[in-house]
């Protein structure tokens, strides 16, 4: 028995949004991404040792987009325990939605100097199909980036979650979904350029996509979107919704008998996650300059799950670490030993599953605890 309890009533200790160190790290990274990198790339002359090459900026910009996807995956898998193996689809759909606008911006500068994109001329089409309507508008394109992945996820999720499809069944169905869409997009008749997809982009809002200014802008936007994703994840993590999501992961039936309907929670986080992927895809496509159906291949979606597993599921920064390290390794391997990359990826996944169930973050936590 304790001699004198301070208070008879329990009051929980509130966790801060970010710790002081956390805020400092966020501020420094934001400064680097939004100010220093653009300056080093655009304003510092090429021969200067501090100059950043277009290659580096694009590579890091690409990885930032992957980090947003990893964040999205973490919301649905890490916190809610629903493993999606179809997140590549939402990423690709966001990319295609913005890609349509990019194709319209080519104007008459294509190979055939037609009002239509080259692949449509090639198919002998005379006008845009119905689903291209309005895509010359930048704002409509932005809305499509959010609406297409969001609506698809909402409708698919509603039926899947209402039928209480769970676990490995859900994973397999999402895998089949992205595969089906890949086959659909491979067809020329679908109207998205078949297996070549969209490429050879020229402009956004009239500005050259390959100009340093535009590259720096896209980079900064990707960084800002990622920052937004992290702040939102943290908000959710601290909110009661976050606790309900983790409760779905750990014991869904207890939650139902406590008076919650898991359907709407799952649908909310699933749709949000898909929309985040769509935004990431839209930022990715102008930076890499191409989008084609291979982005929807089942392997791509599995890779997303590997990033999150490597970094640490259900942690705030784990997915970012995972996406960066795996993709950093990928750039290195595919340049130096292209034939070994997939072996390495497979090995990495096995090792992480066996020895680091909580990923990099879990490993670091364990080492820090041992030192104390």
């Amino acid at each position: 028995m304790k001699s004198e309890p301070l208070s008879l009533n329990y009051r929980p200790v509130e966790q801060p949004f970010f710790t002081k160190t956390g805020w400092t790290v966020v501020a420094v990274l934001a400064l680097v991404a939004l100010v220093i990198v653009p300056i080093l790339y655009v304003a510092v002359p090429q021969e200067h040792p501090l100059h950043l090459s277009a290659y580096t900026v694009t590579l890091v910009g690409k990885i930032l987009c992957y980090c947003i996807v990893a964040c999205a995956m973490n919301l649905i898998w890490g916190y809610t325990g629903i493993l999606s193996l179809g997140h590549g689809l939402f990423f690709a759909l966001g990319g295609y939605a913005f890609g349509m606008y990019l194709m319209r911006q080519i104007g008459r500068d294509g190979q055939y100097q037609s009002d239509l994109p080259d692949f449509m001329v090639f198919l002998d089409w005379k006008e845009y199909p119905w689903h291209w309507a309005g895509t010359d508008s930048f704002l409509w394109a932005l809305m499509l980036v959010v609406l297409v992945p969001g609506l698809l996820a909402f409708v698919f999720g509603f039926f899947a979650f209402r039928s209480r499809i769970k676990g490995v069944y859900f994973s397999i169905i999402t895998q089949a979904l992205t595969f089906a869409f890949m086959l659909l997009f491979f067809r020329n008749e679908t109207g998205f350029g078949g297996n070549n997809g969209f490429t050879d982009f020229k402009r956004i809002l009239g500005f050259d996509v390959t100009s340093p200014g535009m590259r720096a802008t896209l980079f900064a936007l990707s960084a800002a979107a990622l920052l937004g994703a992290v702040v939102m994840t943290r908000y959710l993590e601290r909110s009661k919704t976050g606790r309900v999501l983790r409760a779905i992961r750990d014991s869904e039936s207890r939650l139902m008998f406590s008076g919650y309907n898991p359907l709407w929670y799952k649908l909310f986080i699933w749709t949000l996650s898909a929309v985040m992927c769509g935004i990431a895809g839209a930022l990715y496509v102008p930076q890499v300059g191409i989008i084609n159906p291979s982005e929807m291949s089942p392997a791509n979606s599995i890779e997303i799950a590997v990033w999150v597993a490597v970094g640490g599921r259900g942690t705030l920064i784990g997915p970012l670490l995972g996406a960066s390290t795996v993709n950093g390794a990928k750039s290195f391997f595919t340049q130096s030993f292209p034939e070994y990359w997939l072996f390495f990826l497979g090995l990495l996944f096995i090792l992480v599953t066996l020895f680091m169930p909580k990923g990099i973050v879990g490993l670091v936590n364990r080492i820090m605890k041992r030192d104390q």
Binding site: S163, K240, R246, M256
Partner: protein
């Protein structure tokens, strides 16, 4: 992968995102729970066979019976997990349990404790109670939810009732078996239920913990109706006023403990073995 509900179950016609049953439980005619002629069969096996049972408001009822008598299936029917093939199940006078989802039934005021203690193991004891507290449980409400002083006091009160005040900040997974059982009961109390269903609440408990649980249930008696499924006869002896014996899916006998103990049929199918 069996779809549990093919059509949206929403008799009130309110937005299906809501799932908040606002209707109060009408117990003006006495009983809080009516089960009438309930039949449930799984692949031809009748788990419940024309089961008829009523529980009065404020009553503490014990249900016993051999394995396979249909005790857990009965709980499943009451909480919406299983739909009966025939018969009706009413909560109070007007709430038709066969038409509501699990979440709606929980909202209406029925709390259920599982056979195996089921708590959120990675959440703290406090968070477990916070999740259970009676409030608007829709997504948008949860996004902005903050606990008021009154709610915090209620949680503290429950923490004291189940004797887990000292453990409030610990992960529920670290609790002992008995403490988990109490936490689960505490979570049910946070829902302010009118009917508590407890499936083997003292299974796996030490004698001391069993006694403590009996005491806990006695303090709750009167504030809500309680239905307990148990095998531990000593425990039942200690808490029960009325005992119902189930056998092969229907009621075999009902009455006071002494009456039941001397009933020939009960001795044959259950007690004698």
């Amino acid at each position: 992968m069996k779809p549990a509900h093919d059509e949206p179950l929403n008799p009130s016609g309110a937005s299906s995102i809501g799932h908040v049953v606002t209707e109060a439980v009408d117990t003006s005619h006495g009983p809080i729970l009516y089960l009438d002629d309930i039949t449930v069969s799984f692949d031809g096996f009748k788990a419940l066979n024309k089961l008829t049972l009523t529980v009065d408001e404020g009553e503490l009822r014990c249900i016993i019976g051999p394995n396979g008598a249909g005790k857990t299936t009965m709980m499943d029917v009451i909480t919406g997990k299983t739909r009966p093939d025939a018969g009706s199940a009413f909560f109070g006078q007007s709430i038709d349990l066969t038409r509501l989802t699990e979440a709606e039934i929980a909202h209406a005021g029925i709390g259920r404790k599982f056979q195996k203690p089921t708590v959120f193991e990675n959440h703290t004891v406090f968070e477990n109670l916070e999740l259970a507290i009676k409030t608007d449980k829709r997504v948008w409400a949860s996004l902005r939810a903050r606990l008021g002083d009154e709610q915090l006091d209620r949680i503290s009160e429950t923490l004291r009732t189940i004797d887990l005040l000292e453990q409030a900040d610990r992960a529920a997974g670290l609790l002992s078996h008995g403490q988990k059982q109490w936490l689960e009961i505490g979570m049910l109390l946070m829902q302010e239920p009118q009917l508590l269903l407890l499936d083997e609440p003292v299974a796996g408990m030490t004698d001391e913990e069993t006694a403590k649980t009996a005491q806990l249930l006695k303090t709750l008696e009167g504030s809500c109706s309680i239905v307990v499924v148990e095998h531990d006869m000593e425990f039942i002896d200690e808490i029960a006023s009325t005992v119902t014996v189930l056998h092969e899916g229907s009621v075999l006998a009902e009455g006071g403990m002494n009456e039941i103990k001397s009933d020939e049929r009960v001795i044959e199918v259950y007690l004698g073995r």
